[in-house]
């Protein structure tokens, strides 16, 4: 653990392979470029009970390397000879974690199909591992996002989870956290993929969120307990986020954002990429708009995604609100506005308007942030 800056420094150039990106330590580069071959897809499934994979994951954690298959080094041989897999499994169990090896039949097939799947996944949470094989969608985006991005992320998380999709994200601040929260709100299933050891909550601010995710879904990581968060682990984490899902949604991203790395991984594996259009003048939207220019599917509502999954779309029920509230909603749909602007546009007095807006908020038709009201659908 030479450097754990505690920053998700996914600023790497996207054209450069992960192995050659700045910030990736020499050991990890060697693991990627030197000692990797193709992952052993030919091996019979379930062979060895996943012990080999656990050795690999533990060795990767001990040597800070990114490993796809067993290296042919003396160091690894020594490590393997010393490694007590049963003791390790017992330790994981007492810590409350599970290990799902790549060779396990329950390992999500979509993730196994990417070109460098992890040796296995460490799991935290009560849910069945079959959860990971269910149709899933990734929602990713900027950590420092706008109120608009936060709202969209939460909305998509909620609606997609309500429709039965598993919402996968990275537990980061901003868009990621909101996507998880949205899914939790809808009592849906959500999976958080960590860029650090499975025992760590990073960022610490989302500890409570991680607990909630683990209670209803799963928190997963390719890293053994004790591995520190480090800048080069987050792009690697992103490949798992994209790998678990048939589609990836980018909600808000700057021009050089980690979320675009996730989108790249998704494209490389031939998965669908949705991009939420943003204001062309906003730096926070530069990345998503660039994706659109490259051919990503523009996302205008949750139905766009559901259709691509072949999930039947039914229209939301009509809102039952009073006359003043209906008038206010019409105005809010024309664009986000503050209370005073709405009062002028609708001719309502401040008290009536406040009542109408609360009615709409309770009906889930508008949300308020920083004094500005926005329509939800």
């Amino acid at each position: 653990m030479t450097q754990s800056r505690g920053q998700e420094g996914a600023r790497g150039n996207r054209e450069v392979p992960l192995s050659a990106r700045a910030g990736v330590p020499a050991t990890a580069r060697r693991g990627l470029a030197g000692e990797t071959g193709f992952p052993p897809r030919d091996r019979a499934e379930g062979e060895g009970g996943g012990v080999n994979e656990l050795v690999l994951a533990s060795f990767a954690a001990a040597s800070d390397a990114h490993l796809v298959c067993e290296p042919r080094s003396a160091r690894f041989a020594a490590f393997k000879a010393r490694f007590d897999a049963h003791a390790e499994l017992k330790r994981l169990e007492t810590l409350g974690f599970r290990f799902l090896a790549r060779t396990d039949p329950a390992f999500p097939p979509l993730l196994r199909a990417i070109h460098d799947p992890p040796p296995g996944l460490f799991l935290r949470g009560e849910a069945e591992v079959q959860l990971l094989a269910r149709p899933a969608v990734a929602i990713v985006g900027a950590r420092a996002c706008s109120p608009y991005g936060r709202q969209i992320s939460r909305l998509l998380g909620r609606e997609l989870a309500a429709a039965g999709l598993v919402v996968v994200s990275g537990l980061a601040r901003g868009i990621d956290a909101e996507a998880h929260r949205g899914a939790l709100e809808a009592a849906g299933t959500t999976v958080a993929v960590l860029g650090c050891g499975i025992d760590r909550d990073y960022p610490a601010a989302n500890r409570e969120l991680a607990r909630q995710v683990a209670a209803i879904g799963l928190v997963v990581s390719e890293y053994a307990p004790g591995v520190e968060p480090a800048p080069w682990r987050f792009p690697a984490r992103n490949r798992i986020v994209a790998g678990l899902c048939a589609a990836t949604i980018v909600v808000e991203a700057r021009e050089r954002s980690g979320a675009l790395i996730t989108a790249d991984f998704a494209l490389e594996e031939g998965r669908e990429v949705f991009s939420v259009p943003g204001e062309i003048t906003s730096a926070l939207s530069a990345g998503v708009n660039a994706l659109l220019r490259l051919g990503a599917t523009p996302l205008t509502c949750a139905q766009d995604v559901l259709e691509s999954y072949g999930i039947a779309v039914h229209d939301p029920p009509e809102l039952e609100v009073g006359v003043p509230a209906a008038g206010v909603l019409e105005r809010v749909r024309d664009g986000a506005a503050g209370a005073d602007e709405l009062a002028r546009a609708t001719g309502l007095c401040a008290g009536e308007l406040a009542a109408a807006l609360t009615e709409l908020e309770l009906a889930g038709a508008v949300t308020q942030e920083e004094g500005v009201y926005r329509a939800c659908r």
Binding site: R143, A144, R173, P203, A205, A283, G338, A339, D340, E341, A343, R344, C349, A350, G351, E352, L353, A354, A355, A356, L357, T358, E359, E361, L362, Q368, E369, E370, G371, V372
Partner: protein, 484 residues
């Protein structure tokens, strides 16, 4: 040769009876003051000696001992000067001691014998009345203040005048009420363009006495709005006015030419204020800004910039309207039933909520900013209004409603609330329960919403709380961006 007079020392706002005794004896000439006098009080001996000399009276060249009893009570300040001078003169038989015993006296002596007003005269006069004294000698500037304490004041400009009065040679004119200088009007709501929601919140706050928090980017008029709350508050009741006066008198902030307070006080301490400055303190406890704002408005501009201990100390007065301060010199209980108005930005760089700016705060900085305001404190704001930046057309609009009609509505609403508290209809109750389920509202949050809904109903002239009143009240709940 012994003489005695009664005056009062202040512990907090409470007057405590103090007997000032002088004993003159043979021996080497000297002057000693005993009885736990603080520095300002002990220095009285120099002022008294010069004052007596300047009044063309005789300084007894004997051994003089002045005792301030009870000796265990700490005496502060220069208000004992006049009493000390008079007992020394009575003990040296320059004025009749029995006549002095009927009078209380309070005032500081100048070196030329003039009498200066001191802080706390009102409370001392009240104490004198309770001790059964008939009259109080004091500086003419504080005579009216003393009379409000319920005792006849004898305004004396000079020590010589006081002596002449006590000898029965002179009858000073009775205390005249000071010139009725109209209090300067507080800033008017007409200056505020637009801001309908914030105005409405002010009106609700004024009617129901709710605490109010304005959050938003800089330059949106949060402070301007807060400063205009006093303009729509009804004047103080006479009983309230006396309470306020007592505090202001003790703190020494009472305007001498305008001792009678009719408007609710308005205090806006700077955010560098210490805990003691806000809630009161000092070795002989003095009231702080929170008590000075009793029955009025305490404006805390830039709330998160205040020291956290100072803010946390406000929780007690916000709950029960009093501050109790215990110090070595004694315990003091100050009333502090104020209405809290606060303003804050949404983040330390002040970029949040401003469409023209980008917030550059790191998550750590943002978290530290929010940590400054405890949940418990935010919970005490019944009304939270996020003030977004106004559009140009709003600022260009004509003048808005002035304070006078709003004040009338507030008075009518208050009257209605004081008669009978409107009850919630079944529908209103249902809406409230539904909101508690859907929104992150705590038990205290629910009670808060119910209170504001009651105020909204009273302002609307309704006899019961309807769902629309609950809905409006819900719009002023604490937004999630302020929650940690």
């Amino acid at each position: 040769m012994l003489a005695r007079s009664v005056t009062h020392a202040l512990i907090g706002l409470e007057p405590r009876r103090v007997e000032v005794e002088a004993h003159i004896d043979g021996g080497l000439p000297g002057f000693t003051i005993v009885g736990l006098a603080d520095r300002a009080c002990a220095e009285a001996k120099h002022r008294v000696r010069s004052g007596i000399g300047s009044a063309q009276l005789e300084w007894p060249l004997k051994r003089i001992t002045v005792n301030l009893a009870p000796a265990g009570l700490r005496k502060e300040g220069s208000g004992f000067d006049l009493s000390i001078a008079l007992v020394v003169l009575a003990a040296s038989q320059q004025l009749p001691a029995e006549r002095l015993a009927e009078h209380a006296a309070v005032g500081e002596l100048a070196l030329d014998g003039r009498i200066r007003p001191v802080r706390g005269t009102f409370a001392v006069a009240e104490g004198a009345r309770r001790s059964g004294l008939e009259r109080i000698l004091c500086a003419p500037e504080s005579a009216f203040e003393a009379e409000l304490g319920g005792i006849e004041a004898v305004p004396v400009r000079h020590l010589a005048e006081a002596v002449a009065y006590l000898r029965g040679e002179l009858r000073p004119p009775p205390a005249e009420p000071p010139n009725e200088m109209p209090e300067p009007d507080p800033p008017d709501l007409a200056d505020v363009r637009g801001q309908e929601r914030a105005r409405r919140a002010l009106e609700l706050a004024a009617t129901g006495g709710h605490n109010l928090l304005f959050a938003g980017p800089p330059g949106t008029g949060k402070t301007m709005l807060g400063r205009r709350l006093p303009s729509i508050l009804p004047p103080l009741e006479p009983r309230e006015a006396l309470e306020v006066m007592r505090i202001h008198s003790v703190a020494g902030v009472l305007a001498l030419e305008q001792p009678l307070i009719t408007r609710p006080p308005f205090r806006a301490p700077h955010h560098s204020a210490s805990t003691a400055a806000i809630v009161g303190g000092g070795s002989g406890p003095r009231p702080g800004e929170a008590s000075l704002a009793h029955r009025g408005v305490l404006l805390l501009d830039e709330l998160p910039e205040f020291q956290r201990p100072a803010l946390e100390a406000l929780r007690q007065p916000l709950e029960d309207g009093t501050i109790s301060i215990a110090r070595a010199a004694g315990q003091a209980l100050f009333p502090a039933r104020f209405q809290l108005v606060a303003t804050m930005n949404l983040c330390p760089c002040a970029g949040r909520g401003d469409p023209a700016a980008v917030c550059s705060c790191s998550p750590q900085r943002l978290a530290a900013f929010r940590d400054k305001l405890s949940r418990a404190l935010l919970d005490r704001f019944d009304l939270v209004v996020t003030v977004p930046r106004s559009r140009a057309e709003e600022l260009a609009a004509g003048p808005s409603e002035s304070s006078a009609p709003v004040r009338e509505r507030v008075a009518a609403g208050r009257l209605r609330l004081s008669c009978a508290l409107p009850a919630r209809t079944v529908e209103a109750d249902e809406l409230l329960s539904r909101a508690v389920e859907r929104l992150p509202l705590s038990g205290r949050g629910r009670a808060r919403v119910a209170r504001v809904a009651r105020t909204a109903a009273a302002l609307a002239g309704a006899d019961v709380v309807l769902p629309e009143h609950v809905a409006e009240a819900l719009a002023y709940r604490s937004p999630k961006e302020l929650a940690a």
